[in-house]
């Protein structure tokens, strides 16, 4: 469950978020839209716990270990392979039977064949699919996804559609996107910024 009231975020003199109210119930699926620079990424960083609001109250009812955050950047090491990256995060998240979980996710996102290749050799779409694997690795209760469809081809986007459909009602999901129509049938609420 997420509840935010009068959220404001400033970096120095620059105000990037102003008077944002939002409420997402447990199992809700919220879509955040808005033009570039409207504060979507900043809002998602607040929800993930990577930043704190300058003003306003924010309650995110999920422990740090139960949040899955997909950022603009993939948050994986370029010089490690997919398996090595996921194994490192699996250890840090203390995932039981992490090898099975890693294998299952790599298979689901069609990265199994490339599992032992360095991320630096991946295409942007493959890197984004690996970032999705990292986000889902610890089976989080709250998913915060920043432009998850960026760089994905049709096949990757369809995979993500299926993944998000399976999460509806089971997990709380907040997605920032420039293509809200794609998620219209899944959403339970929408927040427009800017």
């Amino acid at each position: 469950m997420i509840r935010g009231r009068g959220l404001e975020k400033r970096y120095g003199r620059k105000r990037v978020l102003r008077g944002v109210d939002l409420a997402v119930p447990h199992g809700g699926f919220a879509v955040v839209t808005g033009p570039n620079g409207s504060g979507k990424t900043t809002l998602l960083r607040l929800l993930a716990g990577l930043a704190h609001p300058t003003r306003g109250d924010l309650l995110v009812d999920a422990d740090r270990s139960r949040i899955g955050y997909l950022a603009h950047e993939p948050l994986v090491y370029r010089e490690l392979t997919a398996v090595e990256n996921l194994d490192l995060f699996g250890r840090l998240y203390r995932i039981p039977e992490r090898r099975e979980r890693i294998g299952m996710l790599l298979g689901r996102f069609i990265l199994w064949e490339a599992r032992n290749d360095r991320v630096s050799t991946y295409s942007r779409g493959m890197t984004q699919r690996l970032a999705l694997c990292r986000t889902l690795l610890h089976d989080p209760d709250l998913l915060v996804l920043d432009e998850p469809y960026s760089a994905l081809d049709e096949e990757g986007a369809a995979l993500l559609d299926r993944e998000l459909e399976s999460l509806v009602g089971q997990r709380t999901v907040v997605v920032a996107t420039h293509d809200p129509d794609r998620l219209a049938r899944l959403q339970t609420g929408r927040l427009g910024l800017g």
């Binding site: 716990g49 990577l50 422990d63 950022a71």
Partner: protein, 212 residues
């Protein structure tokens, strides 16, 4: 035990990345060796022990700076530091893992540099070597924290020496003192105390450097 397992996983990851990319250690080795060679030909034979030890410390500190400047580059690429900060491990484990990895690179560089120094200049006794090892520990502990701070800013290359060098001065004094003073043990104790104080401060404050 979980904390140590996290530190081990993070250190292992850094060593693996360096073994693959070879971005840091070759540069450190080349720098320290070429510096000692230049000093060997540049300073006169009658310059004395103190001058030689002083030059050794110039080489050590700037070699360490070279390693520290690269320390957080893998985390900056693809924004991995955010991913580590979000993980439920103790955030100080991230600092400790980075400190141990940087220390490993510095020790590897010195495994070549110290014999080269003995070859070109003066023999090193056990107290002098202990001084170097203790100073390495201090430089890496403080340097990893300062390097993380510098990495968060825009002008990392400019900021890092400004942050690290003033804090490294006591280490240089202690290291040179351990090598040239007749009371070298006193300087070793000083280095030990510096390491303990600054390692604890860095360990405790890292979380505030990487979070808002």
């Amino acid at each position: 035990m979980t904390y140590l397992a996290d530190v081990a996983a993070l250190t292992h990851k850094d060593l693996r990345i360096e073994l693959r990319g070879r971005d840091t250690l070759p540069a450190m080795l080349l720098f320290v060796l070429s510096t000692l060679v230049v000093f060997h030909f540049a300073i006169p034979d009658d310059a004395g022990d103190t001058a030689a030890y002083g030059l050794l410390w110039v080489a050590i500190v700037f070699t360490a700076l070279l390693g520290l400047a690269r320390a957080w580059v893998p985390e900056q690429e693809h924004g991995v530091l955010d991913g580590l900060v979000l993980a439920p491990c103790d955030r100080s484990a991230i600092w400790l893992g980075k400190t141990l990895a940087t220390l490993a690179f510095l020790l590897a560089a010195q495994a070549v540099a110290l014999p080269a120094f003995v070859l070109f200049f003066e023999p090193l006794d056990a107290t002098a070597v202990a001084g170097v090892l203790l100073a390495d520990l201090g430089i890496c502990a403080v340097g990893s924290l300062m390097s993380a701070m510098a990495a968060a800013g825009r002008a990392r290359e400019v900021l890092l020496p400004l942050l690290v060098l003033p804090l490294a001065i006591p280490l240089i004094v202690g290291g040179v003192g351990a090598a040239v003073s007749e009371d070298g043990e006193r300087f070793l104790l000083f280095l030990l105390l510096y390491d303990a104080v600054f390692a604890v401060l860095s360990w405790a404050s890292f979380e505030y450097v990487v979070t808002e």
